[in-house]
């Protein structure tokens, strides 16, 4: 298991479909006076309007690992660039990786799971997806890349909200929540978001998988937070909740599981490993906090497709509810099979 040290350089992955506003956000990050220095790995060299010797052009070269697992793809160029950047440690505080608008975020994220040298020096901080409020709903229908980027996000910057009506905004948010109810969502115009809301979030850090509650109305529109688990509802409907539509995407879903009874580690671990080994192509992200029987420590894990990373996080606090919680985001998830498998790992 990799060490969870703060000396590792945080890496923010910035995704978003063509024209959503990634470059605008990047230019803001680089020009704002925040006292931090970022090394930025970009794809379209020259779009960044800031002179900085730590802007590096990347080729977005994705390759399959030679381990027989077809979804084990990594970004070879990133491995090389991070290796080179580590020679200039101390010259920058954090790294931002911009992906092209058509990129699948999985290979970038997986690079931080499988590459020993990358893991030693850097840690994935969060995947930020910039989405265009006006066009995202259309792209979710015709561009699988756009859907992947939403599903993968830890933070979603819903941009260009000034170009849509209130009803259209509610519509696109509901579409986003139908795919990924767990990401933090910020509504912006011209990517005017507090940088502290998107950078150094620790969202991908095992130490910080704390808030697994669906983050429904975090955009601050005055509604109460929903407390329900939306998977108790039937699928394929949309219905109003105080004016907010509630969609279920037909292809991409999230699934949350919980148990107040402890899990049997000898059953749970093989089950989870087998699940991602067999269904990993469908599972984009997975995260969990686990309470095992005869174990006084919280166990946390997260995964991207078939890759899992997990470790004991800390001792359960006195009086803390020892609840196990897991979430999966993916396409065509075998929901009932996952629920049944999870149930079978609960101690009786």
């Amino acid at each position: 298991m990799p060490e969870l040290t703060s000396r590792k350089i945080p890496v923010t992955v910035l995704t978003g479909y063509l024209g959503a506003g990634k470059t605008t956000l990047l230019n803001r990050i680089l020009s704002e006076n925040h006292g931090k220095k970022y090394a930025v790995i970009v794809n379209e060299f020259g779009e960044i309007g800031i002179d900085n010797d730590l802007i590096i052009g990347a080729d977005e070269e994705v390759f399959e690992m030679n381990n027989g697992c077809v979804c084990c793809t990594v970004r070879g160029d990133l491995v090389r660039i991070l290796d080179g950047l580590m020679k200039r440690k101390g010259k920058f505080d954090a790294i931002i990786v911009e992906t092209t608008g058509l990129a699948d975020p999985a290979p970038v994220a997986q690079t931080f799971f499988v590459d020993e040298d990358v893991q030693k020096n850097a840690r994935l901080d969060a995947v930020i997806t910039v989405a265009d409020a006006r066009w995202l709903s259309d792209r979710l229908k015709d561009a699988p890349e756009a859907k992947n980027q939403i599903a993968f996000a830890d933070v979603i910057v819903l941009n260009k909200t000034d170009l849509v009506t209130k009803a259209e905004l509610a519509e696109v948010e509901a579409r986003i929540r139908g795919i990924n109810p767990y990401a933090t969502l910020h509504r912006t115009e011209r990517c005017q978001v507090k940088l502290s809301d998107v950078l150094e979030r620790g969202a991908f850090d095992l130490d910080r998988i704390l808030e697994l509650e669906p983050d429904f109305l975090d955009a601050g529109d005055g509604h109460d937070h929903h407390g329900h688990d939306h998977h108790d509802h039937d699928h394929h409907h949309d219905h109003g909740h105080g004016g907010l539509k509630h969609y279920h995407d037909e292809e991409m879903q999230s699934l949350s599981l919980r148990s107040d009874k402890p899990l049997d580690a000898t059953r749970f671990m093989p089950w989870l490993q087998n699940l991602v080994a067999t269904e990993g192509q469908k599972i984009l992200r997975s995260k969990g906090i686990l309470a095992f029987s005869d174990d006084n420590e919280r166990y946390v894990f997260q995964g991207v497709h078939m890759m899992l990373e997990g470790d004991h996080q800390r001792a359960w606090k006195a009086g803390e509810s020892r609840q196990s919680r897991l979430v999966f985001i993916g396409r065509e998830l075998p929901e009932q099979a996952i629920r049944d498998g999870f149930e079978s790992c609960i101690t009786t």
Partner: protein
Amino acid sequence: MKQFGPGEPSASIISVTDQVRPLALGMAVTSVHFLGENAAFVGAEEKVAMVSPSGEISAVAVHGGAILCTVTDGSRIVMGGDDGTVVALDAKGEVTLLATDPKRRWIDNVAVHPDGAVAWSAGRTATVRSGKAEEKSFPVPSTVGGLAFAPKGLRLAVAHYNGVTLWFPNMAANPEFLEWAGSHLSVTFSPDNKFLVTSMHEPALHGWRLADNRHMRMTGYPGRVRSMSWSAGGKALATSGADAVILWPFASKDGPMGKEPAMLAPLQARVCVVACHPKQDILAAGYGDGTILMVRLQDGAEILVRRNGLAAVSALGWNAGGTMLAFAAEDGDAGLLVV
């Protein structure tokens, strides 16, 4: 020398730690080469520290940023940097600018040929400048992972994704492509020109016998192989990547095909750097826990050069005569040993 098993306490190993001349370089070092009798410690950024046999240190500025790759032919060190330049440093400490990438892209790899030709790569383009200062470029399908000149003839091996391209810059013939799935990160010819070996992104080496392009899979490493060194005469290839030095036999015409490698000097730490003695069957191995050992290839007998419990070893190098060993660690701690 007496052979010690891995279970023996390290205190019982012959130690020459008291003969090491410690050097305070004050910078992170990524490689060390000898230029004549001077040891040149290449920094992670900007500078090379030249150290005379008496221990005098003088810093030479070579790049405007990170130094990404280095290679030596014994008379000069050729380096590439993230400032987009290729420079050469000679024994007098003089720096020559050899090339500047027109787009200032990172220079990821460099290679030198005994006749003076130099090769470098930036992204997916490899460039060769032969002794006559002619420049020829060659595009490959994916980013170049490593470059190496064949010991004979002007032939350049370019490692990339899914294999190695063998390019003859002075011939019109089509380049030869040696295919093997995966990402190939560095490449080396055996000194007898019979074998080509790459280290891969996954913890494995791949090799080809050049006479018939037969494959040699060299696997079983727990970690990626970042350091490879041919023993004197090319009889064996020593590698890092495991908790022992992995030594592949190349003395026969079949190379390591169907053979097990020798595992020398096992410790409870990962080997990071290996450097074979230029004349004798001895190698130096540096470990992640700071240990440096000199190891005799025949029987694995060990001599302790640096104790454990210190920063990981990042560089090892012998002078041409094999009378001096230079080393450096990740934190800049360095030393010279007269053998």
